[in-house]
Amino acid sequence: MKRIVLILATCIAAIAPAIAASPKSAGTSAGVYTQAQASEGSRVYAVRCAMCHGGTLSGTVETPGLTGKFMANWAGRPVADLYDYLARAMPQPAPGSLSPQDNARLVAFLLEANGAPAGKAPLPADSAALRRIILQPVRPR
């Protein structure tokens, strides 16, 4: 039993640094959006996204949820992938209709909903800049 506990502890110790915030990294765990921006994003979400993805981001059988499995689909990639996709393909009934600012607010809201911490500077509405920020997974609460 002790051995199992030891192995588990070792595993957690090995994984933890990868999940925890790594300071000054070009990753979302460093705090790459502001709380105000995420709050604005929640309002954009309520108007433009919630009709399909649900008020709690849970999705449906047919519409993807925006937490949990969402991270498996987007983590490890530049935030620009998500930002560009939203700009091109969302909201599905009117793709391409989000302003760059609203799109950045939405991404901030989604980062917050997926456990990434807020920081001091807002997320830029700029695909090139977002290409340098990696969306990092966060251990679920």
Binding site: V61, E62, K69, A72, W74, D81, P95
Partner: protein
């Protein structure tokens, strides 16, 4: 004609069927049905006699689901071309409009054939809708090791939001961009698929089955024609969207020699007592059994599923497989930036399954198709034809047309109910 046998001498068959019902009921209770259900009409049809039909329960309390999805119409028809991404050969197999289920086997045969031509030992299939999954199984049957990379398994893809009947030229292409060679290619895929579907008839759970489809009317029935309207100036070529019905390819007549056509019913044969009626035999797919069957074969043959979301075609070069069959359906519009993909919205409502009412009713622009997982209700605007839903990417179901259809269809069943009450 093989199908005329369904109308053949059957005076003794009704008794036989009734006698068999006891054992069928027992099997059904165990969750497995191996023989015809009580309402399986084909064996009961006699010329000059009204078939005994169980009325469908057409009321709001029976509503169990509403589904909406985008048909992936591609202007030139399905993309079955190839291209290189890095050193990976990508074989496309997407853009089947409202005909993905119906053409799945024939289309997979073409795509897998191209993949095989470079002698791979394994292939990747990107996408797990009906076209992707069928491509995977066809590749396995050719001896290849297959990994599917997709966001979802079949049951959560757009394919599962179809109505699921054999409609091989539904929004399959536009005449102009498809070109003169397309009808021949389509016919080959449609005939191939048709024969493959026959290999699933009668299997446990009825993944594929035939049922009778009744069209009823209070006025003489005519097949609606959509001649080109010269008053409509634009077209897909000038606007990026089709502007009228005559732009759509209608190819079903090419396979009418094997696919059952409608016959007129005399008043003595019409169970609905409307002045005009037709009957045809129609093939449909029962999603739960079909999906289970195909996935079972895929995994039993050693198939592997990897949940993966692709953000750009460049990521295909990261896959370990050197040959990739790309079957992402409507998602190809964004993933592959295929601007010739045209969304065509469609929606269905589903009523509680009623296996004893195993037939289809069509009245005006509405239809009820009885399937294993429910009765599919559709209410399509008759004045729009193929243009209905074109350019519409909204996938939220609209309940109102279903409620209207239920109200309009309920009275059609009154003669059946009255006759059953008397007998």
């Amino acid at each position: 004609m093989a199908f005329t046998s369904t109308r053949g001498p059957s005076s003794g068959r009704r008794t036989v069927l009734k006698g068999a019902l006891g054992s069928v009921g027992a099997l059904a209770l165990s969750g497995r049905t191996f023989a015809a259900e009580p309402g399986a009409a084909p064996g009961m049809i006699q010329p000059g006699v009204k078939p005994h039909l169980t009325p469908m329960r057409v009321s709001l309390d029976q509503l169990i689901d509403m589904k909406c999805c985008i048909r992936p119409l591609r202007a030139a028809g399905p993309n079955l071309g190839t291209q290189m991404v890095g050193d990976r050969l990508v074989v496309h197999n997407y853009g089947h409009g409202g005909s993905g289920w119906s053409l799945s086997w024939g289309s997979a045969e073409v795509a897998v054939g191209k993949a095989l031509s470079v002698l791979p030992e394994s292939v990747a299939v990107v996408g797990c809708g009906i076209v992707g999954l069928t491509s995977a199984v066809v590749a396995q049957r050719a001896g290849l090791k297959v990994t599917i990379y997709a966001r979802e398994l079949l049951q959560r893809t757009r394919s599962f939001r179809a109505s699921g009947s054999f409609t091989p030229s539904s929004r399959i292409a536009l005449n102009g961009p498809a070109g003169p060679q397309f009808p021949e290619q389509w016919e080959q895929m449609a005939r191939f698929s048709w024969k493959m579907f026959r290999t699933f008839l009668g299997l446990p759970g009825k993944p594929v089955e035939f049922s009778d489809s009744y069209g009823v009317s209070y006025t003489p029935m005519e097949r609606r024609q959509w001649p080109a309207d010269p008053a409509i100036g634009g077209s897909w070529e000038t606007t990026g969207l089709p502007q009228q019905n005559s732009e759509f390819a209608h190819l079903d007549s090419r396979i009418r020699d094997i696919v059952p056509q409608s016959v007129n019913l005399s008043p003595e044969e019409n169970p609905f007592d409307t002045p005009f009626a037709t009957r045809s035999s129609h093939m449909h797919f029962n999603f739960p059994a079909y999906g289970h069957m195909l996935l079972t074969e895929f995994f039993e043959r050693g198939g592997r599923f990897v949940m993966r979301n692709f953000h750009s075609p460049a990521e295909f070069a990261d896959l370990p497989e050197k040959v990739i069959i790309h079957s992402t359906g409507y998602a190809a519009k964004d993933l592959w930036r295929d601007d010739t993909m045209i969304p065509v919205r469609g929606q269905t409502a589903w009523l509680v399954p009623q296996p004893e009412a195993n037939y289809t009713l069509r009245f005006k622009n509405m239809s009820l198709l009885s399937k294993a997982d429910g009765i599919v209700l559709m209410n399509n605007n008759p004045d729009l034809g193929d243009m209905l839903g074109v350019g519409d990417t909204n996938e939220i179901p609209n309940r109102a047309p279903f409620e209207e259809a239920l109200a309009a269809l309920a009275p059609i069943f009154a003669p059946l109910a009255n006759r059953n009450a008397r007998s």
